[in-house]
């Protein structure tokens, strides 16, 4: 008796569950209501994020006009003091991990939460200074400022393609440093990552000392590096290298107060 009951129960559960799953994701009307909530409280410079990440296109459909490309392709979220999170299915965006919302609404299945925190103060962003940087040991290409795919996410970053075994040194003269240098590096282009499996390498040099380094591999995505610095102006050098050719290494870094 039990096996038949089990089969019938599973079948009936499957019928209900399948129809429920098909209709359970919020529709455009719900997203419009969520969008209205955000627009009513939005201030220029607010970061808007969506969760889970697969719903990002729907979020951008409704609020993409409030998301500049450089915000979507941000290095990280630390410089944003106000963050709007629009989430479905109980998900949370990694940008708000550890934060408590100051406001929270539900728009028919789209949770709209606003977070506030003290943003970091950025004294210098190396991406704004590419044109003034000095490059030694030219690579196959770069440095160029790109909107690149790194770890399947968008990042505005400085891309260098070093020749195999020949490091490229990029120096930002008299960079305004704070107490912390934070950066990220990764390998751009999924097809290059498939075809060339060797990692890349980045070292940060200050006063002839390596103060930070990272060795991003093909599956590592956007790898964080950081170092403590002494406030003041100094020459900061990024050394980018790879053991294989055609390695698209892309990085970003901020000097923070």
């Amino acid at each position: 008796m039990l096996p038949a009951l089990l089969l019938v129960s599973i079948s009936l559960w499957e019928v209900c569950s399948t129809r429920h799953a098909a209709d359970a994701t919020p529709d455009d009307a719900a997203w419009n209501r969520a969008s209205e909530i955000v627009r009513a409280g939005y201030r220029p410079g607010d970061l808007i994020v969506f969760a889970p990440d697969w719903v990002d296109p729907v979020g951008r459909l409704h609020l993409g006009d409030l998301i500049p490309i450089d915000m979507a392709a941000r290095m990280d979220a630390a410089r944003y003091g106000r963050i709007w999170e629009l989430a479905i299915r109980g998900a949370h965006a990694p940008e708000v991990a550890g934060l408590e919302p100051v406001s929270s609404n539900d728009a028919d299945g789209v949770a709209v939460r606003r977070y506030e925190r003290a943003p970091v103060t950025v004294l210098a962003d190396v991406r704004d200074l590419v044109s003034t940087a000095k490059t030694e040991s030219a690579g196959q290409s770069g440095p160029t400022l790109e909107l690149a795919e790194v770890g399947f996410a968008p990042h505005r970053c400085i891309q260098v393609i070093p020749q195999a075994g020949k490091p490229v040194r990029i120096t930002f003269p008299q960079l305004a440093l704070g107490s912390q240098l934070v950066g990220y590096v990764g390998l751009a282009d999924v097809f290059k990552r498939r075809d060339i499996r060797a990692p890349g390498k980045l070292e940060v040099e200050l006063d002839h000392n390596v103060i930070a380094s990272a060795e991003p591999g093909v599956d590592d995505g956007w790898v964080r590096f950081e170092a403590t610095t002494t406030p003041g102006a100094a020459d900061l050098t990024f050394i980018i290298s790879a053991t294989a050719a055609d390695r698209l290494i892309c990085f970003a870094a901020e000097a923070r107060k």
Binding site: M1, P3, A4, L5, L6, L7, V8, I10, S11, L12, W13, E14, V15, S17, T18, R19, A21, A22, D23, A24, T25, P26, D27, P52, W54, V55, D56, P57, V58, R60, L61, G64, D65, I67, P68, I69, A72, A73, R89, A91, L147, A148, E149, F152, A153, P154, D189, V190, R193, R194, R197, V218, D219
Partner: protein, 551 residues
């Protein structure tokens, strides 16, 4: 009026052909299909020219015709091309797309008939009907059966070989030569067929050993082995003129292409896989998340029944072992970690007939157990005792109840998933949104682009960056699914630069195409997002300052 079981099988086969043919009308054109349309048309024309004495066996003409897409054997392409020539060009009873796809639909019907027939022979009518319906109501298989590709057809020809082999063991009459021919047709469909000898060979060793130890290995059914070894390759050779030019060299070339095939990107459990080693459990987990849960549950019961009865109710020539080996040979390579996993379930679909037959056996066993239990209960037993004695009615009621709920569940899964079945996952995963949460592959082949064509048509005319649908774009225009004025803008960077509209078909490794468009259009905001049960599958962007199509 009593309906003959064989008639039921044919009706189920017919229902399958009709269902597949209707379902495919809403399914977009797969990237690979475009190649097969072209090659199939040329192959068919060559054969038609040969039988009408328009030309002979000239090597140059063979080379010109069959060099096209020679990395895949010709059977389905040829049938597609012939179907197009007859159903569309000559008779005018089918649209171009349907005509190309119709042979695959027919073969899916044949598969349902074969599964029904084998289950009927070995277990009974109820098991056969349930197995056939479970096979018809598989979301992904139904989707693939509607494409002019090889993945559903190889499932049919694979199982047809298994069936013919089993019949050859049982009857030992006409079937020995048939098994070789059917195996040859399987080889002429897709290279998966090279795995069949592992299943058949192992099975043969077991049954021949049981029949007569060492002597059995030689004397059991030698004609079957000779047929497979001789008629199989010979049939492949006959239907593939490309091999006539250089048999060994071209077979080597064909196999080398697949042994060294590039690893396409494939998302599985949140990770983009494009290089070995792949997780050993891809085939297992993907199967568990794409077959209707009720079918899986019934199949698990069926497997249990087979194990429990392996000694008490042993069937002649070990057909259960044959079915299990068939599924094992189909799935096995994907546990190695080195076999390409892109395309997922379509590459191991020959395992599905075994799963569905097991489901039929399991469902009927469970229903009959319940019927026996209820009959033993006194009040119900007495009530049933007043019913006509000629039929075990309580059995029928129980089987009918279990089967109908099982079929209802499978049908719900199957039709909810269409026409974007590659995005669909079963209730265990939580449907398409659950599959997306788990980081399972969203889709492939650019099929979903068809869903945004009506939205594109609402926009002012412009060149369109059609992304992964680029190979199919001309067909969409030709079929009238897209009005004139929306030509394909071309490849990646230059295509996007010249486009006024751009679409991105969402797969993890295609995210970069969003960013290329953002950069060119200066916005991250699409104007339309096509969704399957809420899961984004295609985004459409519009350049704020439109680039006219004639630029």
């Amino acid at each position: 009026m009593k309906v003959q079981p064989r008639v039921i099988g044919w009706l189920l086969a017919l229902a399958t052909v009709v269902t597949v043919t209707i379902n495919q009308r809403d399914v977009g054109i797969a990237r690979d299909e475009v190649v097969y349309f072209s090659a199939g048309t040329h192959y068919a024309d060559w054969w038609l020219g040969l039988v009408t004495f328009d030309h002979g066996f000239g090597g140059d003409r063979i080379k010109r015709t069959f060099e096209e897409n020679h990395e895949h054997p010709p059977l389905m392409k040829t049938l597609s091309g012939l179907s197009h020539r007859v159903l569309h060009d000559k008779l005018g009873i089918a649209g171009e797309l349907t005509a190309f796809r119709f042979p695959a639909a027919v073969l899916h019907g044949v598969l349902v008939l074969l599964v029904f027939t084998m289950a009927l022979s070995l277990w009974g009518l109820a098991e056969a009907v349930i197995a056939a319906l479970c096979l018809l109501l598989l979301p992904r298989a139904l989707f693939h059966a509607g494409l002019a590709c090889f993945d559903a057809p190889i499932m049919t020809l694979w199982f047809a070989t298994v069936y013919a082999y089993w019949r050859a063991l049982v009857t030992n009459a006409k079937w020995p030569w048939r098994v070789g021919v059917v195996f040859g047709l399987a080889l002429a469909t897709k290279h998966n067929a090279f795995l069949l000898p592992f299943a058949l060979g192992l099975h043969y060793l077991v049954v021949a050993w049981r029949a007569g130890k060492w002597r059995g290995l030689v004397q059991f059914r030698p004609r079957v082995i000779i047929s497979l070894a001789v008629l199989g390759p010979l049939t492949l050779f006959v239907v593939w003129p490309w091999l006539w030019l250089e048999p060994i060299g071209h077979v080597q070339e064909w196999l080398k292409f697949h042994m060294t095939h590039v690893h396409y990107n494939y998302e599985y459990l949140g990770h983009n896989w494009n290089a070995p080693r792949f997780p050993w459990h891809v085939a297992l987990v993907t199967t568990l998340l794409t077959i209707p849960v009720a079918t899986l549950a019934a199949s698990a019961l069926g497997a249990g029944v087979w194990i429990a009865r392996r000694k008490t109710a042993a069937l002649e020539h070990a057909p259960v072992l044959l079915l299990v080996l068939s599924a094992g040979a189909s799935l096995g390579p994907f546990f190695l970690g080195s076999t390409p996993i892109f395309g997922a379930e379509k590459h191991w679909m020959p395992a599905l007939p075994t799963i569905c037959i097991a489901a039929g056996v399991g469902a009927v066993w469970a229903a009959r157990r319940a019927a026996s239990y209820l009959a033993a209960l006194r009040p119900i037993g007495e009530a049933v005792a007043h019913l006509p004695r000629s039929i075990p009615l309580h059995d029928r009621i129980a089987v009918g109840l279990v089967a109908s709920t099982l079929v209802l569940a499978a049908a719900t899964e199957t039709f909810t998933a269409q026409p974007y079945a590659l995005t669909g996952y079963n209730a265990l995963a939580g449907g398409a949104p659950g599959g997306a949460d788990l980081g399972m592959n969203r889709q492939f082949w650019g099929v979903a682009a068809r869903g945004v064509l009506p939205e594109i048509a609402k926009q002012p005319p412009a060149r369109v960056y059609s992304h992964d649908a680029s190979p199919a774009w001309g067909w969409y225009e030709k079929l009238g699914l897209l009005p004139s004025g929306y030509p394909d803008a071309g490849w990646e960077g230059s295509g996007i630069a010249q486009s006024g509209l751009a679409l991105v078909i969402h797969e993890k490794h295609f995210n970069r195409h969003d960013y290329l468009i953002w950069n060119a259009y200066g916005t991250v905001q699409p104007i339309y997002v096509l969704r399957a049960d809420g899961v984004p599958i295609v985004s459409l962007y519009r350049r704020s300052v439109s680039v006219p199509p004639n630029k």
